[in-house]
Symmetry: C2
Subunit: 210 residues, 2 copies
């Protein structure tokens, strides 16, 4: 067995602990709502004492802020890799849609944490909104590229990006992890609908100029 | 001036009073979040005494339930009229998208009230979810009709309907009534993206069978 360098092991252990906290907290927030969820319940789900959880997060809002930061960091990391990779704008957008759904529905256990800011104090909210805007920019940039190179019909890039993100974000409101469609099935269907909706067909070109 | 029959006047006055309550309550719920919103604030916004508001609604949950019932009743009424009217499945779906956005963003002042059930007690929640399911069925039926008559490429009707409804419902999270795009501009862009995404083009037919 290859021994990992100590620093890498520690960092990867820390990372997986963070994701575990994020998943469990998100489950509790999702199941009971942020307001009804208690730190005690989250600690219990994590097999931690309440005191231990409070040591890491002085309050429920700090935990929510952490969840949002982490979720957006993961989404952004994926988006960076997809955009930097090979493929057409349509292919990259399809991958972005799939990666978003797999991350949010599977890896993060169906958390809307990355998109619910109302509960945060102003300063934290501003930071999360800025992080979210940077993430959303990847969608807008890909749509822009697709329009520029003729893959997509001309159209409002911002509104298109918001329609796509709305469809994606709303999944956590209806998706049931047990017994529902898999994230990849949803992704396939959504990518088909949302990416095709922008394709530069002769009819779309006619509509755009009429 | 033509005198309205007394019963009709009373009913229409009652209706407009209900919509006024719905709008104001939705504004407060939207601005402060359901949990931070107080009955006092809602009464103030309505120019009512708190006691008077309590006379109509014994608690905040009853007011939320009323908002959701009313919003869904309006959406369903519109959908019935559109589906019963003339036009192709695509045209009706475009009208449904526009009507939904105008109702939610303009008439109801950007309320997500019709789609947030988490705060309701189980019995009320079941009733609202059933009402919401009936409304969503109009989208699924139109998509089904479009697939049957060849306007749309084959595809999962439920997932397509949920993608469209997600895009629509998410607008209240980002739309700013002052200074933002109008509901009809958004509707035009969304209908273009979401209805076109299903159109039976030669490429879509090829993808569906591959």
């Amino acid at each position: 067995m290859v021994q990992k360098p100590a620093a890498a092991t520690t960092q990867s252990a820390r990372k997986s602990r963070q994701v575990e906290i994020l998943r469990r907290a998100a489950e509790v927030f999702r199941g009971r709502g942020f307001h009804r969820a208690s730190m005690e319940e989250i600690a219990e789900r994590l097999g931690m004492t309440k005191g231990n959880l409070y040591y890491y997060f002085p309050g429920k809002q700090d935990l929510l802020f952490f969840c949002q930061q982490e979720a957006l960091a993961r989404l952004t990391e994926q988006a960076q890799a997809i955009v930097a990779g090979r493929g057409s704008a349509s292919e990259k957008l399809e991958r972005l849609i799939t990666a978003h759904l797999v991350c949010v529905l599977v890896e993060l256990g169906g958390s809307l944490a990355h998109a619910e800011f109302e509960e945060l104090p102003a300063l934290q909210r501003r930071r999360i909104v800025a992080q979210r805007d940077r993430y959303e920019q990847y969608f807008r940039d890909l749509i822009h590229t697709g329009v520029q190179n003729g893959e997509f019909a001309p159209g409002d890039e911002k509104l298109r990006a918001l329609a796509i993100l709305g469809a994606l974000n709303w999944t956590v409101k209806w998706h049931r992890p047990q017994g529902g469609e898999s994230a990849t099935t949803i992704a396939h269907s959504f990518a088909d609908l949302l990416v095709n909706g922008m394709r530069a067909t002769p009819a779309a070109r006619k509509r755009a100029t009429s």
